[in-house]
């Protein structure tokens, strides 16, 4: 998924770097070369990417929670198998991304601790609850749809390990969106109640999904450096517009109404949406969304409950190593 909103950089920390190396680095970026882990890079590039990739990873892991909520209540075995596979994919995406973030020099344990302590952010979208089965359809269709819009340009990001991880993620994400849309088609062709449930889910998710792309360009402070470094290739508003234009016809196909009565289509065919409630976005980012506390508590509990497994595996590995050494000495 899921990180446009977290794409902020630390452009201000520079200046102490060796100017010649920085110039050579920028020349490589301008030439569309990929930067690899052992290459020299400005400290701020390293810091920006560590934060962005790890927050992206946290989002994948926390993103398992709202959907995991419905695995035991999926309406059929087919839906259950698909949802289980999707949630497993999200875990895999988190792991590819943690591995990419670690190549910048911060350990997995430190990255995870930053999330558990609440210091590192994850995508605001996962702080909303999944109240009905239609939410699972809507998440696949819209949340994963928005994620794909964000992630496709990241496949060409200047940092090699991140770009490679994103290529894998994007290949798998397409199944997520299609399975979500299929759920929506089924509900919309079903009973009145089912269609109403689909509409209700769209009503609740539409605006939070638009917020996933991050603050509007006019207030987004950090984009310049990320753009210069080719971490970010499109602005928040450009991606948001692309998403809206792709989604409106899909909603029309489903016979659902996007909860924005003021939405109009302009002469160039773009759908112009109403003002987004950024106060809500800031509240959720500040930790006051509907499920922030619940999500963090669930992650902490999983981490604590798994501690004995990590300890036992480490102890077993030590014991085996000692035994092999003893055998070799005999």
């Amino acid at each position: 998924m899921y990180t446009q909103a977290l794409n902020s950089s630390d452009g201000d920390d520079r200046g102490i770097e060796d100017a010649a190396r920085a110039a050579a680095f920028q020349a490589r970026i301008d030439d569309d070369e990929r930067i690899e882990p052992n290459d020299w890079m400005p400290a701020a590039y390293r810091k920006t990417l560590t934060r962005q990739i790890s927050q992206h990873a946290h989002s994948e892991i926390v993103g398992m929670l709202p959907e995991g909520n419905w695995i035991t209540r999926a309406p059929s075995l087919r839906r259950k198998a698909a949802l289980l596979a999707k949630v497993q994919d999200e875990c895999g995406h988190g792991l590819y991304l943690y591995a990419a973030a670690e190549t910048l020099g911060t350990s997995r344990e430190e990255l995870v601790d930053l999330m558990l302590s609440g210091k590192a952010k994850y995508s605001s979208i996962f702080n909303y609850p999944t109240l009905t089965w239609a939410d699972i359809g809507t998440i696949g269709w819209l949340v994963d749809g928005a994620a794909i819009m964000n992630q496709i340009p990241l496949c060409r990001c200047s940092y090699g390990p991140y770009a490679r991880a994103m290529i894998r993620v994007c290949k798998e994400e397409s199944f997520h969106q299609r399975q979500g849309f299929e759920i929506m088609v089924t509900l919309c062709r079903g009973t009145e109640e089912q269609k109403a449930m689909a509409q209700d889910a769209l009503n609740r998710w539409w605006w939070p999904v638009l917020m996933m792309f991050g603050p509007p360009d006019k207030v987004s402070q950090h984009s310049d450096t990320s753009t210069k470094w080719k971490i970010k290739r499109f602005s928040n508003d450009e991606l948001r517009q692309k998403f809206v234009d792709a989604t409106v016809p899909q909603a029309q196909f489903l016979g659902l109404t996007i909860p924005d009565p003021g939405m109009t289509q302009n002469e160039s065919g773009n759908w112009v949406y109403s003002e987004i409630d950024w106060a809500e976005f800031n509240q959720v980012l500040a930790g006051n969304g509907p499920c922030n506390r619940e999500r963090l508590a669930a992650r902490r509990k999983a981490h604590d409950d798994g501690a004995w497994v990590r300890e036992a595996a480490a102890a077993y590995a030590e014991k085996r190593k000692a035994r092999l050494l003893a055998q070799a000495a005999e």
């Binding site: 020299w40 497993q88 591995a99 480490a314 077993y316």
Partner: protein
Amino acid sequence: MPTPNTPLWEVFIRSRNGLAHKHVGSLHASDATLALQAARDIYTRRGEGLSIWVVPSNAITASDPSEKGMMFEPAESKIYRHPTFYDVPDEVGHM
């Protein structure tokens, strides 16, 4: 005593088409058996391969990027090592 950081492994997978094992990514596991199982779960959920290698990351010796000029330039200047360097008359056809 705190649990030590879990070791890092590099994962290589040979795909169905009989090509060589190819690096696909890395993972953390406390020993080789767990590393293989984790590699199966993380990197082969869609039939990506028929064989997996896992190698402790600290066992890999890498060339130094700052010496890449010295390492690779000698190959770049020897264009006569490529078949396209040589002219074959058109009448001869494909060779």
